[in-house]
């Protein structure tokens, strides 16, 4: 039993850690696309936010200041995206790609110009990082057989942004399905004409959706550079924005499925890490490292083809809203 826990608890804890930024980014995409604006610029916004967070935290010594800066930086890019897509009705995909390229270049350029450390920011210590938060009453809970250890080991000891990510899932579900704003936002992604006819500004809602995406990507970026990592280095988001985009589609643009999908990715990843170098039973030698590394992606494709139904995007996503004559 203990042996099983030894194996399972760290894997589950890793699952939560790996999933957290994906959840934040996927929820970001969720808000943007629910409002009718496709967002392939999640990666760029996260990266720029990661830079802003680490740079600000390094200078001020405060992770919270870093988080604030990350949100501002990411939102600034989101504002560009909204201006291009909503006001100018430009191509949403091009705008997203432009933001990815721009963010990669700008973050490294600024980092180099400001810190002269090869595009990295100085390593963060102490209050400049989000430290793991132990579960309140952990030593007491841990006494509970089985469950206690599971709870303390898996749920406890994560940094603030991880908890924020998980808290945001029910919040997003609540906002989208239980509030006036959510109703209008979703309507905007399905039939902006109806929203307009109801006397509500489509542009304002879409700006809101895209800006929320900016804020969430900001938190995700800060999580990457000031909680999970402890400094910024160029291109450190390493494609997570695209994985989040995939997760969003698998989850059919819904918050709870986003949670399960991202946890699924996280779990596959955590298991794959463990499987590296482990001899295959009966074969005696391990699978090639590359096969293990490709495993999460192969499984995703198989799952998608075999079990998950057709994804139905918000109908108006990607289409600039033009009043009909």
């Amino acid at each position: 039993m203990e042996a099983t826990l030894d194996l399972v608890v760290p894997i589950l804890a890793a699952t939560l850690r790996v999933a957290a930024p994906l959840i934040l980014a996927a929820l970001a995409g969720l808000f943007a696309e629910r409002s009718g604006v496709v967002d392939v610029g999640l990666e760029g916004k996260m990266l720029f936010a990661a830079f802003a967070a680490a740079a600000t935290a390094a200078v001020t010594g405060s992770a919270w200041a870093g988080l604030g800066a990350a949100i501002l930086a990411s939102s600034a890019l989101a504002l560009i995206h909204a201006f291009a897509c909503v006001t100018l009705r430009g191509s949403q995909v091009v705008s997203g790609m432009a933001i990815n390229v721009l963010a990669a270049g700008l973050s490294a350029t600024l980092a180099l110009a400001w810190f002269r450390q090869g595009g990295q920011t100085p390593p963060l210590t102490g209050a400049a990082r989000f430290a793991p938060i132990p579960l309140p009453g952990a030593e007491w809970i841990a006494e509970v057989p089985l469950l206690g250890r599971l709870l303390v080991g898996v749920v406890g000891g994560h940094a603030m942004p991880v908890y924020v990510a998980f808290a945001l899932v029910p919040l997003a579900a609540f906002v989208l399905w239980r509030t006036r704003f959510g109703l209008r936002l979703r309507a905007c992604g399905e039939n902006p004409g109806a929203v307009d006819a109801a006397g509500v500004s489509v542009a304002r809602l879409r700006y809101a959706g895209v800006l929320i995406a900016g804020v969430l990507c900001g938190i995700a970026g800060a999580a990457i550079s000031t909680a999970q990592g402890a400094q910024f280095s160029p291109e450190m988001t390493a494609g997570r924005g695209f994985i989040a985009l995939a997760a969003l589609i698998v989850a059919n643009w819904k918050p709870w499925p986003v949670l399960w999908t991202c946890l699924g990715f996280g779990l596959l990843d955590a298991v794959a890490i463990r499987l590296q170098g482990v001899p295959v039973p009966g074969l005696g030698v391990p699978f090639p490292v590359q096969a293990i590394q490709a495993l999460p992606y192969v499984l995703t494709v198989i799952l998608l083809a075999g079990f998950v139904g057709r994804a139905t995007a918000p109908r108006a996503a990607g289409v600039p809203y033009v009043k009909e004559r």
């Binding site: 006036r180 209008r184 979703r186 109801a198 006397g199």
Partner: protein, 507 residues
């Protein structure tokens, strides 16, 4: 009801220009409370523009609007809503995946959280349902509702927002006579409550039946205002098109030829897996127009799709000249002489973003006629072909390189008809041939179909416009809930009986 009270709506000299088109030219309109006011005119007469201005969709270039005698400016739909002006659009402004109650609340949620507002909306829906007979399940998804119910949702939406002035744009286009009657009953009840109702339509029969006053528009101008009781359909028709309309014809009895298309026990499911056609059999003869009457959503769409090769049927057979053609795709069927004018122009009939000449070969794109060396498609040949079609069929503007979406509905439809009839197919499937087409266009299209029949061709006509079915069909089949529930001879069809059959009320 005329009194000293100022009119609910008064428009003075409204002018609106789109580019070089003068859509509204110094238009005046007075609508009183407690009245149903018809605004009639052909497509493009400027009715919709005027209503869009009233509803704040876009601003007028000049002119003023008075509500209850006070001058107002209506900058957006929210302004209109504050003034109690609500509109039921021809293309419903509903969010299809949403529930009815969500649609009703949208824009009038009554607070940041939905919980309270939703309870309120439910109560209001219940009350309105009782008051006006507007029953809809508040938890049904709009995409699952038939058209008539969707329209009720639109009206409920407007009432829920406290509409004092209700604008309805071509509301009966998709309704059965019974549903239309229901609608008119609701409208009268609303009028009696003191609301002002503006009914935009081109159907003179409706105007005569339900309105108190009527205003006629033509070419962007307001050409006449009449008390309904003091005018006639004939006069209105003349005012509308500026000349005396051709007398409505009933088809002369025909002598049908041999059976050419046979459908046997056809069953079809829609994309959601719902069985929409439940065992339909029918026979179509050369030299006949067979009309399929029915309320939208009763399976006629899927029937047409299955026969035309767009959708594989679940079971059953379709034969053309005795040969089974079930499961063949639309291109193969066209080669066999079965052409199809689809119900939904913009979704199926043409490609809105293609140039008109490219839309003019949709379905015939593989034809060697526009190939050149190496079998490549010659742009010039395609263009020349479209130019000829446009010329011969009076498609305006006759610009083959113009984007398809920039043509008016009537001209789009003419182009599609021209395309499908050009190869003289033995069987023509036609769905809603005149939807959104103005009166002049309707006449032309009807005449073409009649000519087609005279030439010994067979036409299967699906339409929700009863007038159209009656005007064209040699025989009428009524479809209800995926089944053929009755057959009537064309010339002598009893409209009342037809209506009852369409509503599923009589076997």
């Amino acid at each position: 009801m005329t009194s000293a009270a100022p009119p609910a709506i008064e428009c003075r000299g409204i002018t609106k220009r789109f580019g070089h088109v003068l859509a509204n030219d110094a238009v005046d309109l007075v609508v009183h409370r407690g009245s149903i006011h018809g605004v009639i005119g052909e497509n493009g007469a400027g009715k919709s523009t005027l209503m869009a201005i009233l509803h704040g969709f876009y601003p007028a270039d000049s002119g003023e609007i008075l509500v209850d005698g006070r001058k107002v400016s209506i900058d957006d739909s929210a302004d209109a809503a504050r003034l109690g002006i609500e509109m039921v659009h021809q293309h419903f402004m509903l969010v299809e995946p949403f529930r009815v109650v969500e649609n009703v609340m949208l824009g009038a949620e009554g607070g940041a959280l939905l919980k309270h507002g939703e309870a309120e909306a439910r109560a209001a829906l219940k009350r309105l349902a009782e008051e006006y007979g507007l029953a809809v399940d508040p938890d049904a998804r709009v995409e699952d509702l038939p058209v008539g119910a969707r329209q009720r949702v639109e009206i409920l939406k407007a009432l829920y927002r406290g509409a004092e002035v209700l604008i309805l744009d071509e509301p009966t286009g998709v309704l059965t006579p019974q549903e239309a009657d229901d609608l008119f009953r609701v409208l009268r009840a609303l009028r009696d409550e003191g609301k002002a109702i503006i009914l935009i339509t081109h159907k003179l029969r409706e105007v005569m039946a339900v309105t108190d006053r009527v205003s006629v528009m033509r070419g962007g101008k307001m050409v006449a205002h009449r008390e309904t009781s003091e005018t006639s359909a004939a006069e209105l028709g003349e005012l509308m098109i500026g000349r005396r309309p051709a007398a409505a014809q009933r088809p002369a009895p025909s002598a049908p030829g041999p059976e050419i298309l046979a459908v046997e026990d056809l069953r079809v499911r829609d994309n959601a897996g719902v069985e929409r056609v439940r065992g339909v059999s029918l026979a179509l003869h050369a030299g006949e127009i067979l009309g399929i009457a029915g309320v939208a959503g009763n399976g006629q769409t899927e029937l047409l799709e299955a026969v035309s090769g767009m959708r594989a049927p679940e079971s059953g057979t379709v034969r053309l000249r005795g040969e089974p053609i079930t499961g063949l795709d639309a291109a193969a069927l066209r080669r066999l002489g079965l052409a199809h004018v689809p119900e939904d122009r913009l979704r199926h009939g043409l490609i809105p973003e293609f140039e008109a000449c490219e839309s003019a070969i949709l379905g015939y794109h593989g034809d060697p006629a526009w190939r050149r060396f190496l079998g490549l498609v010659s742009g010039r040949k395609v263009e020349a072909h479209a130019a000829r079609l446009m010329r011969e069929n009076d498609v305006r503007p006759a610009l083959p390189r113009l984007r398809s979406s920039l043509f008016s509905g009537g001209n789009q439809q003419k182009l599609i008809l021209a395309r499908e009839m050009e190869r003289e197919p033995d069987v023509l499937l036609v769905g809603q041939p005149t939807r959104g087409v103005d009166i002049g266009g309707i006449e032309a299209i009807h005449e073409r179909l009649r000519g087609w029949r005279r030439a010994g061709k067979a036409v299967l006509l699906v339409s929700v416009e009863l007038d159209e079915i009656l005007a064209l069909s040699d025989r009428i089949l009524v479809i209800f809930d995926g089944r053929i529930v009755g057959e009537l001879p064309g010339g002598a069809a009893d409209e009342r009986r037809l209506g009852l059959l369409m509503a599923g009320a009589a076997a």
